[in-house]
Symmetry: C2
Subunit: 572 residues, 2 copies
């Protein structure tokens, strides 16, 4: 399998199960994705040569709207736990949640060293401090151009541009050949920090010969080139020039520190102070300034509570909430619920982002609320207030041509992105039998000769994290929550005497007609239950009788179909 | 109020409450929206002159994702019920759900005659047959150009183009002046049925002088002109030409009968049979053919079960599911769960629609599933496979210029659409004090002189319809459902002896850790509850004690926060 013909989609995980086990022909190179295939999120994969393994990234994913009460999703790494002894280290490409967010849950189990750039390490440390403050892993700071030799692997860190600073691709030399993982990238010719994607390094590897290329598929559906982050700065500049009288509120991703830097630069030129709003915005900027990724004088910043007191045209508010996140700075402001900042007709609000799929309604609601505050709002796609951090088709083509690999696997994409990126690679001359659309848990085996084949599967999947301890949470509970959410619940408790006779009944409902609103219904329910239990019977029979009789009564009163929970309380 | 400065958003309904009551200066013209302000959905408004009233449209709206278990939303029409005697009739602009969907719930209460075009009446009858088959209202069929005189109102039906045939605007003469309601419209110069928007009628009213204009705001954010429905036909034609070998599956809105007609025409040209899939697709096409809105020979159609048996290039499947609706034809096919049609690499699937806000993820999932079936899929915005049924900015400008009203109210839009449409009207010379951004329930009073003012409010709002009888359902239950959905529920039933002493305890959980998975926790819960109830106390005190002691135990075992429901069962 592997070619999309036989490919399987995230929602058909079993389609290719049991088609052979991972083969074991000794010293063979294997690449094993445990997340990030057929999904944009929880990126993680392992590269194995003989008894040695390295892991690349360890991300999280945010739950679908029907995953009620779930906070986040992390990859199932039992395969890595089983091979703990083999793992030499985890290499992180950059500091976005979908690449580092799984670490606080996974790293303590594996306890292997982490290799990443300074900023990425700083962000990982912040996350660990939140979730498992006591755990202190070993970090090795690396920078673009560095090479790390770990047993059979020689890992070269390569600079790439992305929507967060200090992002890396990895060129990994192994005895079987070179593996290139692009990480998330774009080819921004004039990045804000001057750190361009290192074409040279990619070309060099290309000349040397790359056995396997793993490339970012996020924007394969977008024609042309992704615009430079600089274009956003130009738009901001115009807005500052046009709205000299107004206070300017800019909402964007806290992790997009290049954009923050541009806001700071422009603010200084226009003699405005900057108020940072939103926990993560403050945290990212603090860290980035401490580590030297963002340069701005201390006196540029004012505390949020001072912003309302100042002349509108002397202030810029930089806030979170560009995705309409319920408790983010911008959303609280839009509802008039923000403690420090009240919006009004003196404000120009710029939403410097496009909605991530699934957030469209949240963003749309926020925009409506902002208008209702009397603000002017800039939010349209066509106004160049946001650019993506991912390469578009022309850039993806360029990268494939530079690297010219023997085998190609589209990563970091939903199924349709994988399929179209695979097609792109074939169009550019990568041999069809070397192009693989993979699913999480597939094992890609590569021979020295450059032949690749997906030969088996290892355990892979999603672990839901909610209030309960990680892992404890089962899907069955989700199903119950969905039922409760649909129709509510009706609990019927029956007290039984030692002889098993009914001594009393009490009922309660949640999310379903309450007793005080439907006295007749509840009266009849009680009578029906008592009647149903007249004859002596076992506990299970009783529960069934209670459900059956109650359902029968309900059906006559309403179309509602609540979960019915019978409780039998025996005399102790 | 009314100008957006003082405007209120859907989520701030109370903001202007109590600013004066509806004034009662005898024979005054009033326009009162009860739905469709600050929302795209459940359109309904009333026009009142003295003791006479007419109603325009009566739509429904689909629930937000957090309205758990709710099927649909309808407008609160208590104001109309109170004024039942005054209502001369309901005029419907066209047959879309957001304009007729409320009728089965509202019409029986008002029991007034309905005026609409033939197709619209047919669609209304189908809806009534589903919900209240016994109720038979009085229908008056009207057509474009007809004028209906009802007391002080003389209502002229005006042809407009939209994404469903036989749509109308209404020009309503009253003693106080002319009111123009555009309905949903676009200015398609070459509509499929040749029935163009009747510019002449609008111009004529404009010359005569229009007191109040109510205009469709849906696409006010879109620059330029909305493309003709014909462009979609051209794209289809190309796809048929390019994919002579494939079976073609087209998913679109069942109500877009012009599109269906184009599919039928092209299918005939390319000698393909048509299989209709999806309950509503079949119902709409049947009705439209019966009433003569769609022309296609009987032998063009084949039953869905024959489609898989035929040569792929001899078949077109026209199906529902363009919005990824869970049980629609396309989604069942994409999951391989459709009884009659199996998709594969011989299929070209065209999704002839753009996702309605909120449906993006459903559509995206469907596309991934289709790719995983091996289909070729055409879905991109830039491929001219769909056009909107609503006028874009240039068309809206043209309409305002034609009509040149004294007062203007943007209708059929979210708050930001209203604000921007209002701005557009002012830019085109409508006096600022005559432009109103209204909320549902606002009362706009108009004097002969052409002065307008929003002077009060009547009751308006949303009624949730779920399995329970309409109206019965309270928001408080929704809140409970959300809590249940978040953390699940833990029920603790205690049997009490006549002396109030605890005789037994039983517990059950849904959507939260089950007993068999957490024996210690449940054991400790039971002990804690028994202990908490040792001292004699009243029922409320007992319930509190149970909650308190259980919460305390839970907090030590998990971060989960289920609803805790204590039940006290007394000996009868």
């Amino acid at each position: 399998m592997g070619k999309e013909s036989g490919g399987s989609s995230p929602s058909k995980p079993n389609r290719r199960r049991g088609k052979g086990k991972p083969s074991n022909r000794g010293k063979e190179l294997k690449w094993i994705p445990l997340g990030g295939m057929g999904e944009i999120g929880k990126n993680i994969s392992a590269l194995q040569y003989g008894d040695e393994m390295i892991v690349i990234d360890c991300g999280l994913k945010f739950p679908e709207e029907d995953m009620l009460g779930i906070d986040l999703l992390i990859p199932d790494v039992s395969f890595l736990e089983q091979n703990r002894g083999k793992i030499r280290g985890i290499f992180i490409t950059h500091g976005h949640e979908d690449h580092i967010g799984g670490l606080p849950y996974v790293l303590p189990k594996l306890d292997v060293p982490v290799y990443a750039t300074r900023l990425t390490i700083g962000l990982i440390k912040n996350k660990l401090a939140e979730v498992c403050p006591r755990y202190k892993p070993v970090f090795h700071e690396i920078g673009a151009g560095d090479t790390v030799d770990l047993g059979s692997f020689s890992v070269r860190a390569i600079a790439v541009c992305h929507s967060i600073p200090d992002a890396l691709a990895y060129g990994i030399r192994t005895p079987a050949g070179v593996v290139l993982h692009t990480g998330d990238f774009k080819l921004d010719a004039q990045p804000i920090d001057g750190r361009t994607t290192d074409y040279g390094a990619f070309a060099e590897l290309g000349r040397e010969g790359v056995l396997l290329m793993l490339s970012d598929s996020t924007n394969v559906e977008r024609e042309g080139f992704t615009q430079s982050e600089r274009t956003v700065g130009r738009t901001f500049e115009q807005l500052f020039r046009l709205h000299k009288d107004k206070r300017i509120v800019i909402a964007t991703f806290a992790s997009n520190l290049h954009r923050a830097q541009q806001v700071f630069n422009i603010a200084m030129r226009y003699n405005r102070k900057v108020a940072l709003v939103g926990r993560s915005m403050i945290a990212y900027v603090d860290l980035a300034r401490k580590l030297g990724y963002v340069s701005a004088p201390d006196d540029l910043f004012i505390p949020a509570q001072e912003a309302d007191g100042m002349q509108p045209n002397r202030v810029v508010v930089l806030t979170t909430g560009s995705q309409g996140e319920p408790f983010s700075g911008l959303v609280l402001m839009s509802k008039g619920e923000h403690r420090q900042i009240k919006l009004g007709n003196r404000d120009l609000v710029v939403i410097s982002a496009t909605p991530i799929p699934g957030n469209e309604k949240l963003v749309s609601r926020t925009i409506n609320m902002l208008f209702s505050c009397g603000c002017e709002v800039v939010y349209e796609r066509d106004q160049a207030i946001h650019v993506s951090g991912h390469a578009s088709r022309e850039e993806l083509k360029m990268m494939i041509s530079l690297v010219n690999p023997r085998c190609f696997v589209p990563v970091h994409g939903e199924y349709r992105h994988q399929v179209r990126h695979a097609q792109l690679a074939r169009d550019l001359g990568v041999p069809a039998k070397g192009v693989f659309v993979m699913s999480n848990g597939d094992v890609l085996s590569l021979s020295q000769g450059g032949k690749g084949s997906v030969e088996g599967r290892v355990q892979a999947g999603t672990i839901m994290v909610d209030g309960l301890a990680v892992g404890e949470f089962q899907g069955s509970l989700l199903k119950e929550r969905r039922e409760l959410a649909q129709d509510g619940i009706l609990t019927i408790a029956v007290a039984l005497g030692p002889d098993g006779s009914v001594r009393g009944v009490d009922m309660d409902s949640r999310g379903f007609l309450h007793r005080q609103d439907a006295k007749d219904l509840y009266g009849e329910l009680e009578r029906a239950v008592v009647k149903a239990l007249e004859a002596p019977m076992g506990d299970d029979a009783m529960r069934t009788a209670i459900r059956k009789s109650a359902r029968e009564v309900l059906s006559r009163y309403t179309k509602g179909y609540p979960a019915i929970v019978p409780l039998l309380v025996r005399q102790g």
